[in-house]
Structure formats: C-alpha cells, structure tokens
Point group: C2
Chain length 82, copies 2
Amino acid sequence: MILVKVYVTLKDSVVDVQGEAVKDAIHSMNYKDVLDVRIGKYFEIKFDDRSNNLKSEIDSICDDLLANPNIESYRYEIVEAN
Amino acid sequence: MILVKVYVTLKDSVVDVQGEAVKDAIHSMNYKDVLDVRIGKYFEIKFDDRSNNLKSEIDSICDDLLANPNIESYRYEIVEAN
C-alpha cells in the first residue's frame, strides 16, 4: 500500500475569503500576532502497491477531480507505507 | 514572520463520507487501484516574529477554532520563514 498526501491550495493571486474570516475570528480571540491565514484541502490517498503509473495517475486525479485548475494549485508527497 | 502549517483530519474512528464519495469518483475515472481516500483541512498561518507563546497559542487556536475535538484531530509544523 502506498500513501500519497495531496495539498490543494488557492493560487496566491486568489483572495482567500474563508482565510480572512478565520483570521478575523482568531483576532477576536485576542491573538493579534496572526498576520495571514490561507486555507486548503488535504487528501490522504492510499494506492495499491501494484499501481504502475503512479505519478501520472495522481496528476490526472488532481487535475480532473481534486483541484480546480483556474483558482487552485496542488502538490503531493508519496509516502511508502505497508 | 513565522509560517505554521496545520493539518486537521477526521479521527480514524469517524467514517469519512466525503472521502468515500471522492474514492467512488476516482474509481469511475477507472483508477481502481485507489484503496482509500481521507479528506482534511489544511491551514497556512503566518505569525509575527514577536509572538512569544507560539505553541500554546497554536494549540488554543486549533482547539477552539480550527478543529472539532469530538471528531477531528490536528497536527502542525512550525516553518521559520522571513
């Protein structure tokens, strides 16, 4: 079994409205030293050991399903796990 | 400026309905070698350099705002960044 960790985040050019709301909430908790908050999605995907074209498969899954290419970018880590 | 990366995920005991839906969608893309999908939230929080009680502050922010302690757990990485 292969564990892949995928991080999908808004592109820097995109205003993170949710992040702004969380930042305001944090400030209302009196933690004024928080300068910025960006929020993304985090996926842990388990693959069968025998998948042969793993990287291209992950890219297709991210491009076609997990990330919106207009406003989001993704990166991933392949973590061997058995 | 200090960058903190926070990962909020469902506890293992909690069924990840969204994850199941994404797994089904991936299977419908003919990637049958995907065994499991778990979805979480990912936060990038920037702190001012002068924050003194950083770890306890992050724990409070996670416990009180970012994670639901009943069904979620969190971990974080402190990444120095200037």
